[in-house]
């Protein structure tokens, strides 16, 4: 098999607030102050192959966007390596680095805040291609028109400003902007979450069409299992910064292995379920500032046992292409 487009190995991201000078003095004096660290992403391995759609699911704050940003090259990883076509992203410089960056584009959640309100649509879309020499001034208009058309927008609207569009149209602008630099890999960070149901379908269809036409690869981040199920070839489930399960789509929806995945699947409201009684996993999502030791999910897990409280479960293959991080699997085995 060819080298994956993106390969993450033990990637972590920590956001820490370091103690300043005064803090250090106090620490010397024995005061209980220390650096605060959020493990937004904690030792994640992930591969995305060409042409694949990988869904990334998890609850709010579990580090999905952070992971997405690192993949898109907006943010460096604190630990671990991210390889782009086998080459380490952090070590790429100059034109190759820029190409790597351009090849991976991101589409954001909030269609309003991801467009600069003071720039015309044409320039939002055309600025980067022009700066990077993908088009010339003379061909600029045509180029922008083409991108807009491809995203299902009327090019005659290009002289407008973002506030003059509806949410769905804005998301299309975002898509056109990403496509304009001719990427091969797109990270969609909750790209349809803010849209109305009827518009959401349009955008999802657009994604699928583009995938087919341009042979794009997606990392599709969402908390909506329904969407992910519909779109992805493979699904990765995250909980508090860690990947807890990973499997092909059918597999995971048919045979969820991790208790968290199971809970998630059972609680997703489904339109086919009538007057069902909701139950809900007990407990709140813990703060990433001081996550529980061992398995992060153990305080809420109905099957937790002693080992879960102390030892971090590793991702282990439970079936072909299906990996899960749960001590229960060892128990059964």
């Amino acid at each position: 098999m060819s080298t994956p487009i993106i390969e993450l190995k033990g990637v972590s991201k920590r956001f820490s607030k370091k103690l300043d000078f005064a803090g250090k003095i106090l620490q010397r004096l024995g005061a209980p102050v220390r650096d605060e660290t959020v493990h937004a992403v904690d030792g994640v391995d992930l591969t995305v192959n060409k042409g694949e759609v990988v869904g990334l699911v998890g609850e709010s704050g579990c580090g999905k966007s952070t992971l997405g940003r690192m993949v898109a090259g907006i943010m460096p990883a604190s630990d671990g390596t991210i390889r782009w076509h086998g080459k380490e992203l952090a070590e790429l410089t100059g034109s190759e680095g820029r190409r790597a960056k351009l090849q991976t584009q991101m589409i954001f959640q909030d269609p309003m805040s991801s467009l600069n309100p003071r720039i015309r649509v044409a320039d939002i879309i055309g600025e980067a291609p022009l700066v990077h020499g993908l088009t010339k001034r003379s061909e600029y208009d045509g180029y922008v028109d083409e991108q807009m058309r491809r995203a299902g927008m009327d090019p005659t609207l290009k002289r407008r400003y973002p506030h003059q569009f509806s949410g769905g149209q804005r998301q299309r602008i975002g898509i056109a902007r990403a496509l304009a630099v001719q990427p091969e890999f797109i990270v969609c960070d909750e790209s349809v979450a803010a849209l109305d149901v009827s518009i959401q379908a349009q955008i999802l269809n657009l994604f699928m069409d583009l995938r087919r036409d341009l042979n794009l690869t997606y990392l599709f981040i969402s908390h909506d299992l329904g969407v992910v199920e519909h779109l992805s070839d493979r699904v990765v489930i995250m909980y508090l910064g860690r990947v807890v399960e990973e499997a092909p789509s059918e597999e995971i929806f048919a045979r969820p292995n991790h208790p968290y995945t199971q809970a998630l699947l059972s609680e997703v409201p489904r339109i086919d379920a009538r007057k069902k009684s909701f139950a809900g996993v007990k407990g709140e999502i813990p703060s990433p500032l001081n996550p529980p030791p061992g398995c992060h999910f153990h305080p809420r897990c109905p099957f937790a046992f002693d080992r879960c409280k102390v030892e971090r479960p590793m991702l282990k293959t439970v079936a072909s292409g299906h990996r899960s991080a749960c001590h229960l699997n060892d128990k059964v085995a």
């Binding site: 609850e59 709010s60 509806s166 949410g167 769905g168 149209q169 109305d196 149901v197 009827s198 518009i199 959401q200 379908a201 349009q202 999802l204 269809n205 699928m208 069409d209 908390h223 909506d224 299992l225 329904g226 969407v227 199920e229 519909h230 779109l231 789509s249 059918e250 809970a263 998630l264 609680e267 997703v268 409201p269 489904r270 339109i271 086919d272 379920a273 009538r274 007057k275 069902k276 009684s277 909701f278 139950a279 809900g280 996993v281 007990k282 709140e284 999502i285």
Partner: protein, 334 residues
């Protein structure tokens, strides 16, 4: 047998019209909305963003802000028209017999007041009780919505709670006076799936136990499917379809409802293109005459340019369409 026709409903909204008189023109945010909800029942009010769901909710509570005004219709609460009540009468109803829960749990609680203050004041706004008694009541209600150690939690500030807990506090506040009607405006939209399930579970239990009627506003058909008894679908300020949940979802009559249901991914085959409704949600300021949906509708004809009546087309099913999708066409749509 349906709630809509059974014993006197708790709330009955008839032809409600709420317009905003802005500088740029009149916004007909709610323009002919009718539904009713009975004791212990849950009505799901669904529709896209901007279709007037929230404004409907506010109209019921008499909380429509300037420059908005209820310009027509009636809101009968136990037969009493809320649209005609004085401000003081409405105040006495609000939070007492009719309560509301808002979408964003981060924003609905006053960040600078402790939970107990915010709860006690609600109790004292409607009943003459001592502070102690009010606190007692607050504590009990917090316990009821599943907040552990309510005594300590009462002394906290909202920011010390997680989103789900906050929404529970808001629900507790709504429940303080055991209201007969709760208007819940997308109370779980901002929450995570597992937390949403927790809240839905609590709410379900409460309605069943207390016999409170509930209007659950949402744009998520899936939530309504699991929670509500009846459903009313709104489009551009108007209710376009109404009925019991199962029939409406299984056999939508209005093309819009059908489109909505059709575009839910899980209703589609994996990898296939989703069914989609073309076009955009209309601008309420510049609605075309007649059916507002007709520009996006595959069945639209000339007749759709006329005002569409809202009428019962089947028992317990009302639809605002000249071309309802009767089973004959269903095969085509599904």
């Amino acid at each position: 047998m349906t709630a809509l026709t059974a014993a006197a409903p708790t709330l009955e909204v008839r032809n409600l019209q709420t317009h905003f008189f802005t500088r740029a023109g009149v916004v007909k945010a709610v323009d002919d909305v009718s539904f009713s909800v009975g004791r212990g029942k849950v009505l799901g009010l669904v529709g896209e963003s901007g279709s007037g769901k929230t404004v409907t909710g506010f109209s019921i509570l008499g909380l429509v802000d300037e420059p908005g005004r209820i310009v027509g219709g009636s809101i009968l609460f136990h037969g009493q028209d809320l649209a005609k009540q004085s401000e003081e009468q409405m105040r006495q109803l609000r939070g007492n017999r009719i309560a509301m829960i808002f979408q964003d749990p981060m924003m609905t609680l006053n960040p600078v007041l402790r939970i107990d203050t915010q709860m006690i004041e609600t109790v004292q706004a409607h009943t003459k009780v001592s502070k102690e008694e009010a606190r007692q009541r607050a504590r009990d209600t917090l316990g009821m919505v599943g907040i552990p150690s309510p005594d300590e939690r009462l002394k906290s500030y909202p920011h010390q709670f997680s989103g789900g807990m906050r929404q529970r506090v808001a629900i507790a506040i709504a429940l303080l006076h055991r209201p007969e009607l709760i208007v819940a405006d997308e109370p779980t939209t901002a929450l995570d799936v597992t937390i949403q399930a927790q809240i839905l579970a609590e709410v379900q239990k409460l309605c069943a136990e207390t016999g409170t009627a509930m209007i659950w506003i949402t744009h998520d058909l899936s939530v309504v499917a699991g929670l509500a008894d009846d459903i009313a679908v709104m489009y551009a300020g108007k209710v376009v379809e109404k009925g019991e949940v199962a029939p409406v979802l299984d056999m939508p009559l209005h093309p819009y409802t059908a489109g909505l249901i059709g575009s839910v991914p899980s209703r589609n085959k994996r990898g296939e293109p989703l069914k989609q409704i073309p076009g955009m949600t209309p601008n309420v300021m510049r609605l075309p005459p007649g059916c507002a949906f007709r520009t996006r509708c595959a069945y639209a004809t000339e007749v759709c340019k006329q005002e569409v009546p809202f009428g019962e087309v089947a028992p317990g099913r009302e639809v605002r369409c000249f071309h309802p999708l009767f089973p004959a066409k269903q095969g085509e749509a599904a």
